[in-house]
Symmetry: C2
Subunit: 300 residues, 2 copies
């Protein structure tokens, strides 16, 4: 199974980065792209995010060996239905959504006879839109494939091979486990960041100007994550509800225990936790998943 033509539906940060990464790392593959927003299509053309910017999803998928949906997870079903009639029989359908059980179900409903292999490249920045993409976004990042039971093995391998060409490392797991893992490594961190930035904005006894001025004490890190795309993240929480609520329950239990330790002056409990959290940071740096320079390498 050879992938020679790729259709990218949705030309924001992820879709645009895939297009640019193909151009840089696999220029033999032709890309066609579509976005429902005409302004996005115009910018995609100017930045040459894909070889051909099409005026409809049907036009984009017509010769595709692989179609990648790069829209918010709440928009997957409608986006897939939009090109259902024009999809070549042999095409693999994939996506880049942050929740996988819901996407798998939605795509199967929209495209009942298609070969569907959902995927999630764990990569991104806080920026969004057609200006935000860049060719090296996926380098050394993990791309998780969640093929449904009985999926065509050749199609899974072809998709894995495509992502490897873009610099990704591949992991295969079932969609349910993916949704649990990502709830803790991505969804809850975003929810917490949005919450604390909201809490800080709403205070009456601390001004917004003070929050901004003294943000270098730690708060500013959270504002980066809380600047992420609102629609994308709304959809993630609505579509990975049970795993998010489960992990949120564990987080608030742990936070309540720390609150109690602070109230009772139990320094030992605090020190024990604060010492053991360093090990995970070391693991992340050793695994090449973050910059080892202090402060993420921010300029001082």
């Amino acid at each position: 199974m050879s992938i020679e033509n790729v259709a990218i539906i949705g030309l924001g940060l992820l879709g645009g980065s895939i297009g640019l990464a193909v151009k840089e790392h696999a220029p033999q593959i032709a890309t066609r792209g579509y976005d429902a927003n005409p302004d996005v299509r115009r910018i995609a053309g100017e930045r040459a995010l894909v070889g051909t910017v099409c005026n409809s999803a049907s036009e984009a998928v017509q010769d595709a060996d692989l179609v990648i949906l790069c829209v918010p997870v709440g928009a997957m079903k409608a986006a897939a239905s939009d090109f259902a009639d024009s999809l070549p029989d042999h095409a693999i359908i994939s996506d880049v959504g942050s929740s996988k059980q819901s996407v798998c179900e939605d795509l199967a409903e929209a495209l009942p006879n298609a070969t569907i292999i959902p995927a999630h490249p764990v990569a991104g920045t806080e920026q969004s839109g057609p200006e935000a993409g860049f060719a090296t976004l996926f380098a050394n990042r993990w791309c998780i494939l969640t093929p449904p039971a009985g999926a065509d093995e050749a199609a899974v391998e072809a998709l894995a091979d495509f992502w490897r060409k873009l610099g990704s490392r591949i992991e295969i797991m079932d969609a349910e486990h993916h949704d649990l893992v990502l709830a803790v490594t991505s969804h809850i961190p975003h929810l917490i960041a949005y919450t604390i930035v909201g809490t800080a904005s709403d205070l009456e006894d601390v001004t917004r100007s003070e929050v901004i001025k003294y943000s270098a004490g730690g708060f500013r890190d959270f504002t980066r994550i809380a600047a992420s795309d609102p629609t994308m993240w709304r959809d993630v929480f609505l579509h990975n509800k049970s795993a998010v609520l489960e992990m949120l329950g564990r987080f608030t239990e742990d936070l309540t225990a720390l609150q109690r330790a602070i109230r009772s002056g139990d320094g030992e409990t605090l020190h024990e936790l604060f010492s053991r959290t360093r090990a995970i940071r070391r693991g992340i740096i050793e695994e090449g998943q973050d910059d080892e320079r202090p402060d993420f390498g921010r300029e001082h």
Copy 2:
């Protein structure tokens, strides 16, 4: 009032950075330093963090116009008592602690007749110890002075002038307000980061290896903060208890409201919050308190 001799007590990230910043930006000022840990003193000598590394706090402060305590807030009182008998009458006593009401009280008890002007440079990295300091740590960062009622204005101005020489911007506020503001811009963000990293480490159904591999989804940002010095942070929570508990209460109320929105499928509430949190990020970048490049300028 002229500051010509500065004593730095505690030669970790903050103390070391002050010494290096003086050498770079105000080389006419002589620095003497002391640390209770002999290994730290040895490294401080090798890195020339201060002009003279002394073998006792009394020796370090003997000719000082300004003494800056750079120890965890729980160690302030003992560190100040240690040199009380050798302190020149005219010397200003200051510090770099993250809580100010407790420090102000502790220093006043240890040094009842001294001129005490507590301070908090809102700057740092996740690293600690005598290897971690650098001369530009305070550039364009705010240093908050919290002079007690009736403090000598000339002493306040001399201290402000010292910090300006190191690149800081100066704000003056009362200690109680400082503790409330920093609870939200620094202490709660650290507490949350420590908590989520702890929660992720303790899961049974998600392995530590999975947490590390997929950390680029947002979690890795929290691990940087959660790699901060455990003793320093234990002390902050124990010494700024009431403001931390107050702000934590507000945060958990807001988080509970979001949890409810997720459970009930209320996308509008989520989208509204996620849209409005972007404004604070823009303010922080415009105010020069963070890097505007995507992902903090991490290399991709």
